[in-house]
Symmetry: C2
Subunit: 431 residues, 2 copies
C-alpha cells in the first residue's frame, strides 16, 4: 500500500478567488463570428454593433385617424368658427399615397409622391387618413378626427393644429446610420423585431463555444447501466447538470463519456480534445488517483490548482492548446459552484458578452444568520421566501444536489467576513 | 365614403385588467403530458410530481479519507494513548467492498456485504477508505486520516470517533418515496442532475402549446420582400418579436403569414386554425377594417374586447373551438405588452406552471417621476441604471420598438394611481 502522507496531503496553498479570476480572464477571448438566420438568433450574442441602413419608419406617417392638411391653414379654427377644406381622398395603411387603388388589390399602382397619380395636398385641401397611413405630399400635419367633421366632400376643421402634429416622421424610431444594438448583446425577442424592421435577417453572432464534458471516477455509472444500484456505484448526474448549464449559457455541450481513474485513459482523452473548453469532474484534488492536474501540467499548462473558496476549493484550470480546461470537483454542488464561478465567465468571455451583464441579482434581507469561515470566499445556497427575505439553506454537504434544486440562487460571503447576521441585506445571484 | 362615425368611434367600455385576467384564467387549463429524454427536458414543465424510487446515495459511504472501523472501539484513544487496529484492506470509490479487485479493472467481482469475498470489519479491525468509498460491513464510523497513522499493517487511532461520524448514510440526500420535484416546475440544469441520479431518464412534461401567429395589415411586407422601402409599406417585425416570445415562454411558434385587411381571407385563416393559441396582430380596434373581433364573435366566442390598460388597450381575446385566440394590437410595443399581460399567463397556464413563479421581479427607486393617467393600468418601460435605481424610458409612442430594446423590464402603474414620484420604490417586472 502506498504511503499515507502522499495520498492524503492537502493543498500547500490555494489561490484567492480574485487572482484566479484574473488569470482566467487573461486566457480567454471572444471566438469567431458567424451568420445565423434571424429566427435562430435568439439568445445568441451579437458579434458586431448593428448600424441601421434604413430609416424606421421609412416614410412620414399619420399617428392618428384624422385629416392630413397644411397646418397653417387651420390657424384660428374653432367650433364656432370652423374652416372648410376640400376632401381629396382617403389614405389607408399600406397605400402609397395615390388615389387609384389599394395595395392589397391586384394591379394597384405604387406611386411615389410627386409621381403622376400620387396624392398631393394643395392649398385648401385635406385627405382623410388612418393611423399608419403615409402622409401625402404637401401636408405637414394631421388634424385628429375628433376635431373635424366631413360630409364626404368638405371637411370642417373645428380646431387648429400645429405643423408636425400627429405625424410620425421618417427615421423617428431608428435613423439610418444609427447604432441600434451593441456588440456583446444577448439577443432577446424584441431585438429580433428591431433587426427585422431594419432588414438585418442574418445577423453576425459569435460562434457557440464547443464544450467537452468528461466525468471521471471509477465509481460512476451511466444512469441506464445495469450496474446502477450496485454497492459502491454512483449514477453520474454531473453530465446532465453540466450539459444543462452549458446549453443555458450559450455553449454547445459535447459529451465525451465517463473515464475511470486511470492515468492512460485520461491522458488519451485530454490529448484527443478539440474544442473550446474542456470540463472534467472529479480527480482534481491532491489524492493518489487525482491524475488530472498533473496531466494538464504535462500536456498543456496548469495555471491554477486549488482556489480559496467553498465549496469547489480543489478546482483547477489551465490551457491545453487553444482550449481552456477546467477541472471541476466531482461533488455535484461543487461542480455547480465551480461552473458558476469560472466556467460561466469563461463562456461569456468567449461569446464576447459584456461582463456587467453576467449575473442577474436581487437584494434581500437574511431571515437567519449565514455562518462562514474567515479567509475563504463562501458560496451559500439560498432561497427567496417572499417579502424580500432570503433564507440560507442547510446544505448537508457538497454532495447534496437537492440543496441546489431547492435554491433560487447563491450569496457570496467574502474572504474577510465571518458570515452575515440575520437581517443583513445581501445580494443574491439568481440561478 | 363610409360614415365618419362608424369608422372612428371609440370603445364604448373597456374591461378592467383584473376582470380580463379572470376571464382568461377561466378559459385555459393545462395541456396533456408527454415523455421527453432527460437531455431535452431543460426548460420544460413537469407534468407530475417526481417521487424517487431510490435512496440517494444508495449505500452508506465515507464522507472523508480515513479508516472505517467500529466507533466504540476508539473510545479513550488520544495522541498519548493510541489504540491499535489491524489494517484489513483499502476501499476506493467504486469498490463494492471486496478485497480482490477494482471495478475499473476487467473481471473485478462485485461483492455485496455478507457475500463471500466482501470486506467485513470485525472487532479490532479497520479498513483504509477514501471519500466516496462504500462503508464496509461491520464498520459504523470513519476516523479521519488526520487522527490516525498506519504502517501498512497496523492503524493507530489517536482520537475517538462517535458512531455515524463521517459516514453519508444511504438515503441521506434523497429517500425512496420522497417527493423530489413538484409538478409545474420548469426544469433547470440542477434538476436534470437530480433526475439522472434517481434514474428518471424520460420525465413526463406538459406538451408545448402550439401557438399560431398571424400578422394582419395591408401595409405589412415580409422583410425580404421587394416592396420593402416602398412608400406606405412597413416591414412586419411582429412576427419575429412574437416567435421569440413564444419560444422563450415554452411554446412552439407556428407562423401562418401576413394576411391583408380582407374579411374573407381572415375568415379562412381563423377557420383553418388547429392549435392551442392563435395570436393575431392588428385589426383589433373598432375601425372600419378591424374585422377580427367580429369574426371571432361569429366563428367562436369573443370574451373581452378592449382592456383598460396602456398600451395595448384595443386587445381582445376569446375562444375558437378549443383554442384561445388573442387579438393583439399591431403596434410593436403594444404587441409586446399584450403578450406579457395575457399571452404569457395563458401559455403558463397551459403548461401547468405555478402562478407565483411567473414573473421575475426586482425592486428599485425611480430616478425620475413616472407619469400616468388615473383609471387606467399603465405598463411603463424602464431601465435599471445601477445603484438600485430605475429610469423610466421616454417611449415616443407604442410603435417605437427601440424603447423595448433599451428597457430591462416594465413597471405597472395601477388604475387608482396617478403615476409615481421620483424616489418611489417600485417593482420592476424583468424581461
Amino acid at each position: 500500500m502506498p504511503d499515507h502522507d502522499v495520498r492524503m496531503r492537502g493543498f500547500r496553498e490555494r489561490t484567492d478567488l480574485e487572482s484566479a479570476l484574473e488569470v482566467l480572464r487573461s486566457c480567454v477571448g471572444p471566438l469567431e463570428e458567424e451568420s445565423v438566420p434571424l429566427l435562430q438568433a435568439m439568445g445568441r450574442t451579437l458579434a458586431r454593433d448593428i448600424i441601421s441602413t434604413r430609416d424606421v419608419p421609412s416614410f412620414d406617417k399619420s399617428a392618428m385617424d384624422g385629416y392630413a392638411l397644411r397646418a397653417a391653414e387651420t390657424f384660428g379654427a374653432s367650433p364656432t368658427d370652423s374652416i372648410p377644406f376640400r376632401l381629396m381622398g382617403e389614405i389607408f395603411p399600406g397605400d402609397a399615397g395615390d388615389l387609384e387603388g389599394r395595395p392589397g388589390e391586384l394591379g394597384a399602382p405604387e406611386a411615389e409622391p410627386g409621381e403622376v397619380g400620387a396624392l398631393e395636398v394643395g392649398p385648401g385641401e385635406a385627405v382623410r387618413i388612418m393611423t399608419g397611413g403615409a402622409l401625402p405630399g404637401g401636408a405637414d400635419a394631421v388634424l385628429m378626427a375628433e376635431y373635424a367633421t366631413d360630409d364626404g366632400h368638405v371637411v370642417l376643421a373645428h380646431a387648429p393644429v400645429v405643423p408636425g402634429r400627429n405625424v410620425a416622421r421618417a427615421g423617428e424610431d431608428i435613423r439610418k446610420g444609427e447604432k441600434v444594438l451593441e456588440r456583446g448583446r444577448v439577443l432577446r425577442p424584441q431585438d429580433l423585431g428591431v433587426l427585422a424592421s431594419i432588414g438585418m435577417m442574418e445577423p453576425k453572432v459569435t460562434r457557440r463555444p464547443v464544450v467537452g464534458i468528461i466525468s471521471t471516477g471509477s465509481e460512476l455509472v451511466e444512469p441506464e447501466s445495469p450496474l446502477v444500484g450496485r454497492r459502491g456505484r454512483v449514477v453520474n448526474s454531473n453530465r446532465y447538470l453540466l450539459e444543462g448549464l452549458v446549453t443555458q449559457t450559450g455553449g454547445e455541450a459535447l459529451w465525451l463519456g465517463i473515464i475511470p481513474d486511470d492515468r492512460e485513459a485520461l491522458h488519451t482523452a485530454l490529448e484527443a480534445f478539440h474544442g473550446d473548453i474542456l470540463l472534467t469532474t472529479g480527480a482534481t484534488s491532491v489524492g493518489k488517483e487525482d491524475y488530472l492536474p498533473g496531466l494538464l501540467a504535462e500536456l498543456g499548462e496548469l495555471l491554477v490548482h486549488g482556489v480559496n473558496i467553498r465549496p469547489a476549493s480543489p478546482l483547477a484550470f489551465g490551457r491545453l492548446g487553444k482550449a481552456l480546461v477546467v477541472l471541476l470537483p466531482g461533488n455535484p454542488v461543487a461542480t455547480m459552484v465551480g461552473f458558476d464561478v469560472f466556467v460561466r465567465p469563461a463562456l461569456q468571455l468567449q461569446l464576447g458578452q459584456r461582463e456587467e451583464r453576467w449575473n442577474r441579482r436581487v437584494r434581500g434581507r437574511l431571515r437567519r444568520k449565514l455562518a462562514s469561515a474567515l479567509n475563504r470566499t463562501d458560496f451559500a445556497r439560498v432561497r427567496l421566501v417572499g417579502n424580500g427575505e432570503v433564507e440560507p439553506l442547510r446544505s448537508g454537504g457538497a454532495g447534496v444536489l437537492t440543496s441546489v434544486t431547492r435554491a433560487d440562487g447563491f450569496v457570496i460571503v467574502p474572504r474577510d467576513v465571518e458570515g452575515f447576521e440575520a437581517g443583513t441585506e445581501v445580494e443574491v445571484y439568481l440561478y
